[in-house]
């Protein structure tokens, strides 16, 4: 369960990025986070990852009060989350395997397990035959799949994605978002930030819409 309770985020000397936000995403649910550029979508995800601190309010994630989480507990908390970025954030000098393996290495998983789990994750995203490729030799869609494999290889409780289809064309966007839906169907809580209205309508998932840091009425599942 992700729960924002009266969460405000502002930077010193600047306007409020998020204002009195109340949002609840139950465990195992998938929702989309929409809104124009600058609405606060990325900031909301950064708060969830504890890349930014909450200014006021309480943010609870699966029983953890993220707003008061001590610094030394942040790494362990982040290992419970998978995250996908618009720009993939891949290590360009490492092959696909090494990029995905990083998530398991930081968790102290042994070499043998890393081998099998990385292969399984890459099979899931359809890149089983690209394991030793460098990211630069892959298409944008394939690079994003590597990013997704890295985010799900440790079977996180929550999967976050910040504009994962922002750099992809229509059909690739559909493929990527369908992948997220697959993971959701396996019980993962998924929150995807997107401004792609056609995909929002196609997926028919609950939507949290942000405008200038304020949550507008959320839409329930339409299909």
């Amino acid at each position: 369960m992700i729960e924002f309770i009266n969460v405000t985020k502002h930077y010193p000397g600047r306007h409020h990025v998020l204002r009195e936000l109340n949002l609840k995403l139950p465990t195992g649910e998938m929702a989309l986070l929409t809104g124009p550029s600058g609405a606060g979508k990325s900031t909301l995800l950064k708060l969830l990852l504890r890349l930014e601190d909450v200014s006021h309010g309480t943010l609870m994630v699966n029983g953890v009060d993220v707003s008061t989480l001590k610094k030394r507990h942040i790494p362990a908390y982040r290992r419970r989350i998978g995250v996908v970025f618009q720009d993939h954030k891949l290590l360009m000098d490492r092959d696909v395997f090494s990029n995905v393996a990083l998530t398991l290495q930081v968790s102290g998983v042994s070499g043998k397990q890393i081998q099998s789990r990385v292969r399984a994750a890459l099979e899931k995203v359809g890149l089983g035959n690209r394991i030793h490729n460098l990211p630069a030799t892959l298409s944008g869609g394939e690079q994003q799949r590597v990013g997704i494999a890295r985010a799900i290889v440790h079977t996180p409780e929550i999967l976050l994605a910040d504009e994962p289809t922002g750099n992809l064309d229509g059909s690739l966007s559909t493929e990527i978002l369908d992948l997220f839906r697959d993971f959701h169907q396996h019980g993962t809580t998924v929150l995807v930030a997107t401004h792609d209205q056609s995909q929002v309508e196609r997926l028919g998932l609950p939507v949290f819409h942000l405008e200038q840091g304020i949550l507008q009425n959320s839409k329930e599942k339409s299909a």
Partner: protein, 302 residues
């Protein structure tokens, strides 16, 4: 997280990073080795100087003149005491007759002594001291103690030069320590700067690792191992530099010693001293890395 395989992977990671850039790695190691070799070389030079000065024991002679009526027992007891005293390298008994012969030979005053009718010169002990065995105060106290022994009339010594010599050596040691500390800071900065460059090259990797839940220790470990490995190799290299320098200097030293009718073997580092040098060097490398990576992580994790 602290499992052995995690540390092994970090060490492998560190080694790979160093081997990927052999020239940069070698330059860092050489820079560190030279920085370390300088104070350690000076320490070795001081040790050699001490060894050399220790050989100048004929310059630290004490003469104990005996009473005319000193008994054979007094003389034997005194000789035993002198031989068992700290810092005494050699004890030589000079009888009245031997003293007279030397006097006649050196001063050419045979006629004058013949007029006196008897030998006025006392028997004596000539004690050779290692001037660096004790402080001048201790040596002086020891000489005074000998002077109070039965059968001893007076003691003649010149320990002022020993005090001066020891003061110069103490000054040299202090100067080398200061230099060593300054250069140790230099070694830390060299390593810190090198690691800072490595961090800059791997900034993306650090940021991504942090995003997927890497702890500070996980991110820090490969950099610390890099510092440790480079520091240890620099320590070995510094040891080799000193050994080569000593080997090169031994020839001229031999020739110089021959001119003075003596022999002098230059001392390098002992096995234990060499190991200490490697350990200290590795620690300095580790410390430099820790400072650099800690500074970066404070920023990343803030």
């Amino acid at each position: 997280m602290s499992a052995l395989h995690v540390r092994r992977e970090a060490a492998q990671n560190a080694l790979n990073t160093l081997l990927k850039q052999p020239l940069a790695t070698l330059m860092t190691i050489f820079a560190l080795a030279i920085v370390l070799a300088l104070p350690v070389g000076l320490f070795a030079a001081l040790n050699n100087l001490q060894q050399l000065l220790g050989q100048w024991r004929d310059q630290a002679q004490i003469s104990l003149f005996l009473h005319q009526d000193a008994t054979e027992q007094d003389i034997q007891q005194l000789q035993k005491q002198l031989q068992g005293s700290t810092g005494v390298v050699n004890v030589r008994y000079v009888s009245k007759e031997a003293a007279l012969k030397t006097f006649e030979k050196n001063a050419g005053m045979t006629a004058a002594i013949k007029i006196l009718g008897e030998n006025p010169l006392p028997a004596s002990f000539v004690v050779e001291l290692n001037p660096l065995s004790e402080s001048p105060a201790v040596l002086q106290a020891q000489v005074q103690e000998w002077a109070r022994q039965p059968g001893v009339a007076s003691a003649q010594s010149d320990l002022h030069w020993v005090a001066r010599l020891q003061a110069i050596l103490a000054l040299g040691k202090r100067a080398v320590w200061i230099l060593a500390i300054i250069l140790a800071v230099g070694a830390i900065l060299v390593m810190g700067n090198t690691i800072r460059l490595h961090i800059a090259q791997r900034r993306d990797e650090i940021d991504i690792a942090s995003l997927v839940g890497a702890t500070r220790a996980f991110i820090r470990r490969p950099f610390l191992y890099q510092g440790l490995i480079q520091g240890a190799i620099a320590g070995i290299l510094a040891w080799v530099i000193i050994a080569i320098t000593i080997a090169i200097l031994q020839g001229p030293v031999d020739r110089l010693a021959t001119l003075y009718g003596t022999r002098f073997q230059l001392l390098g580092l002992t096995g234990l001293e060499g190991l200490i040098l490697i350990v200290i060097s590795a620690i300095l490398g580790w410390l430099g890395s820790r400072l650099a990576v800690g500074q970066h992580l404070d920023h990343t994790f803030s």
